[in-house]
Symmetry: C2
Subunit: 359 residues, 2 copies
């Protein structure tokens, strides 16, 4: 992206904030020299971290706030009591037009609830979703929802399919991404009613989506489809199971190599290619989940990420802004609403608070 | 197990049946010399496969049947039209007391529906579940349900917890296995109502279960708890996602090594330990999912497994028979039913058929 733009950063969100936020922005600055960063957080701490980096200072503004949304704050509580927090202020900067997007490594539930309340959803969107990228055998697979909506109806799943398809076009550069619904079998009769209804809408749809029907858990890494659509409960479990399995495998590998001097010797020669494997499976590469369906770009970084991961999350925000993802989703949805006349009721503040509370 | 016992085998179930069933039984015979095998399937094919193996012939009986339940047969259809099939006959042998347990690599939905109909559930059990073992960083993790029940209420989840705990004691030899409910966060307010209700029952329970509350997807491979309880939809997606991720990782590794002669040279030295890694992650080692909650031992082998995997599935059946898993579950449940007075309505044949139909 060559035009100048501003990103808003929740400097206090995440396990290693504000350090990784400042270092992540410093890395991102090298990649995106026209970026300006608006840091929300503890001014004293931030200034101390900045002092060594003149280049970053030149493209950064600090907005002081004392309040922080902690990892164990419930979303309902965050909404009611966190209006002076770095997270709230950072989102508000997008709403006010001061920033083109926001990145936070903080509490996911609070970030989603605040974003819904401050930005509201895109016209035609009932529920926003968390959208991320998985590595696959043939490239990359987009998956959503990764945890925003515990229970989903058919309408939600259809919206996720549309948003995921737009995301895959914008983020992976695919012309006609294929879409599948995550189920426990590929037969039409499998799964819940919501899944069967959503499949019917997507099959009969005038949306011109390349819908491939139902897919299963192993299709995520097989790359059977470009976009895997599921509810937030299943998506979150699948994401964390995949992360856990990848970690298990690398630990087995490390332990095995350490256990034998012959293996250690051999590994000296194999190290360059092994580093490649590790890089391909590196969770940091896939850090930065987009909250799709909002009136603004919100990217959630993994809470435990380091500076490299946070810089990648900033990269996701930059891509979404540069490629006008939200404009594309709104356009797709306008066809859907016009042709299928699916009703959408916008949530009131009290509904958002009530829904956020049990998350 | 030193006492003589008979296992019933669905010789025609699975992608590579009857070959892998015969070869798997031959491998199992070496491990369990007191075993007798009752093969149900095509007599001509089976006899041809047996002809080279006198030792196996000595401990096997063939019961001819022409009918086979194919992989794409719907469970409802299998129940109505498959009563002469190798699968039905093999289950019936357990019901009749001719065999102590049955192993099949055939259609999962059909196997579960037929088993429910022929054997019925254990007293006090509403729904049987599919129970399997995952590798973890510190050992092994038991998980259920892996796909029998798409939607579960709190009562089902509590029953799964009891059955999983008994399975972990019998199969992993743990004295006091810890149990967790799979959720998308460890906080009490997360997840569905069924999960929160089940957690409350397990926490307040007189069952004396070591209940650790909610766990997440990455806890399966971390080994945070010994038993992970979830509904069949989520469990099936998690299982297949884990399998897919493990496969992706080994493929990345193989591709990387093939791409460089230096790596290939180094790998010659590292091969023994790498084989160890592959063996630890080998899906065949974890083949053989138990259908818990039935009046009999039913083990489902992966449909695409080879003879080694099928022999392992036979091993699971042998362990369950030797350790009287069903007796232990029935005993635990009798406490639960007495103390909590949770009502159980046994399903009628038409209910089983109706429920099996959409699976």
């Amino acid at each position: 992206m060559s035009a100048a733009f501003t990103l808003s950063l929740d400097a206090m969100g995440g396990d290693y904030a504000p350090e990784i936020v400042v270092k992540g922005a410093a890395l991102a600055r090298e990649r995106y020299p026209t970026a300006h960063f608006l840091f929300f957080g503890d001014e004293t701490k931030l200034k101390a971290l900045f002092s060594h980096d003149r280049a970053l200072m030149a493209c950064a503004t600090i907005r002081h706030t004392d309040q922080v949304v902690t990892g164990d704050t419930k979303p309902g509580q965050a909404i009611r009591q966190g209006r002076q927090s770095s997270m709230w202020k950072a989102i508000e900067a997008v709403k006010n037009g001061e920033a083109a997007g926001v990145v936070s490594a903080g509490n996911t539930g609070a970030l989603m609830a605040m974003s819904k309340l401050i930005m509201r959803t895109l016209p035609g969107i009932d529920r926003p979703a968390i959208c991320g990228i998985f590595p696959s055998r043939i490239g990359e697979t987009v998956m959503l929802d990764l945890g925003a909506n515990t229970q989903c109806d058919a309408r939600n799943l259809v919206e996720f399919a549309i948003m995921g398809e737009c995301f895959a076009r914008a983020m992976l550069g695919l012309e006609r991404p294929s879409v599948g619904l995550l189920n426990i079998g590929s037969e039409d009769v499998k799964g819940t009613e919501a899944l069967r209804d959503a499949a019917q809408v997507l099959r009969g749809s005038h949306l011109d989506i390349e819908f491939k029907g139902f897919v299963e858990g192993d299709d995520i890494t097989k790359g059977t489809v470009d976009v895997v659509v599921t509810d937030g409960f299943t998506g979150n479990v699948a994401l964390k199971t995949a992360e856990g399995t990848a970690k298990l495998f690398s630990e087995f590998l490390k332990t095995a190599i350490r256990s034998s001097w012959l293996a250690k010797f051999g590994m000296m020669f194999a190290l360059p290619v092994l580093s490649q494997v590790m890089a391909r499976a590196d969770a940091r590469r896939y850090n930065g989940a987009l909250f799709v369906g909002l009136n603004g770009v919100v990217v959630k970084s993994h809470g435990g990420t380091d500076a490299v991961g946070f810089a990648n999350a900033i990269g996701v925000a930059v891509d979404m802004i540069a490629r006008d993802l939200n404009g594309k989703i709104a356009e797709e949805l306008s066809h859907m609403v016009a042709e299928q006349e699916l009703p959408v009721a916008e949530q009131t503040e009290s509904q958002i608070v009530a829904e956020a509370a049990p998350q």
